[in-house]
């Protein structure tokens, strides 16, 4: 009887120690899935998805609280990449979050800028340089084109300008007259 108790206790202790060490050795820092999702997002921090930035959106997707089709700046390539990563069916961009647009960059009309700093506070990526009552300017290489600086500007001196497509990313334009071909896209579930 005593041997039985001793042997089982010894066994349990050894296994307990083993698991304890394994827990230290295989410790998981944070949630690696959130990191992976976050890397696929365009990091515009524009908030069009309804979250405060790209990382909160990634967190919500990892928890299954958000759909994968809420990122207009990322557009279709991002949705496709997210669908591959999360193992779900890709779906078209949710129009409630906005439409896919060419990459834009904000430009301040420096003649009209009154130096109010309101746009500096709105910028999520700190791409606007300036001080109170001094002219502001935008660091074009930092600007993500999120348009968050447009509404606060009291004198409407910020314009969105499309970025010239570099030669490596140039694509043939979509052929005209595609509407003539009757293509019907049926969702996967519709057949069942």
């Amino acid at each position: 009887m005593l041997t039985a108790i001793l042997v089982l206790s010894a066994l349990a202790t050894v296994f307990g120690l083993l698991l304890g060490f394994a827990a230290v050795f295989f410790k998981v820092e944070g949630d690696p899935l959130v990191e992976k999702i976050d890397k696929l997002l365009p990091q515009t921090q524009c908030g069009q998805c309804g979250f405060a930035g790209c990382r909160p959106y990634a967190q919500a997707m990892a928890n299954g609280e958000a759909e994968i089709n809420q990122c207009p700046p990322g557009g279709e390539p991002t949705i496709q990449a997210l669908a591959d990563l999360l193992g779900v069916q890709p779906k078209p961009l949710n129009p409630e979050n906005g439409a896919e647009k060419p990459t834009m960059v904000a430009v301040i009309d420096e003649n009209n800028c009154i130096g109010c700093t309101l746009c500096i506070q709105a910028c999520p990526v700190d791409a606007i340089l300036g001080a109170a009552k001094h002219m502001h300017t935008i660091i074009a290489s930092e600007c993500t084109g999120c348009e968050l600086c447009l509404p606060p500007c009291p004198v409407d001196c910020i314009d969105m300008v499309p970025v010239a497509v570099p030669i490596e990313q140039w694509q043939w334009p979509v052929p005209q007259g595609l509407d003539a071909i009757p293509v019907v896209v049926k969702p996967f579930e519709a057949r069942a």
């Binding site: 066994l11 827990a23 295989f26 949630d31």
Partner: protein, 193 residues
Amino acid sequence: MTEFALILLSTVLVNNFVLVKFLGLCPFMGVSRKLETATGMALATTFVLTLSSICSYLVNTYLLIPFELEYLRTIAFILVIAVVVQFTEMVVHKTSPLLYQMLGIYLPLITTNCVVLGLALLNVQHEHGFLQSAVYGFGGAMGFSLALILFASLRERIAVGDVPLAFRGPAITLITAGLMSTAFMGFAGLVKG
């Protein structure tokens, strides 16, 4: 060498644990909806089965038999299995977070998978040696993986098929499993003894 080949053939095809011995049916039904999850589950179960088969053999030979504690076999094996599963869970969580999330509750549930305990007890019953136990565990896991992956592929195909209304959902799943089991019965008699 022939002996090990025979054990493998026997556990994978002739005495397939899922389709012939009807052990481990819950993950067979639960995780076979998608091929990817089924593959992940098959990998995790293979790891757990082989490792727990070896560990339970060691515990049985070097702890239970010398101390004449064979009557504690079940509880000791369950302890071994629980630890191996917990260990696997940590490894999977660290190495493949996506697989960890896909397997979800089914990963800890390997603990209560009857295949794992059944295999450890069958090892003792057949008086297998160390290598035989390992091969038996690995073969059993291969058989389980084969059945699970085949079944998941069938279910993916059936999901897009035009199934009559009365047979949709669990009904067609159970019928498919039954047909697969019948097909595997055909392997009986392939190996003598």
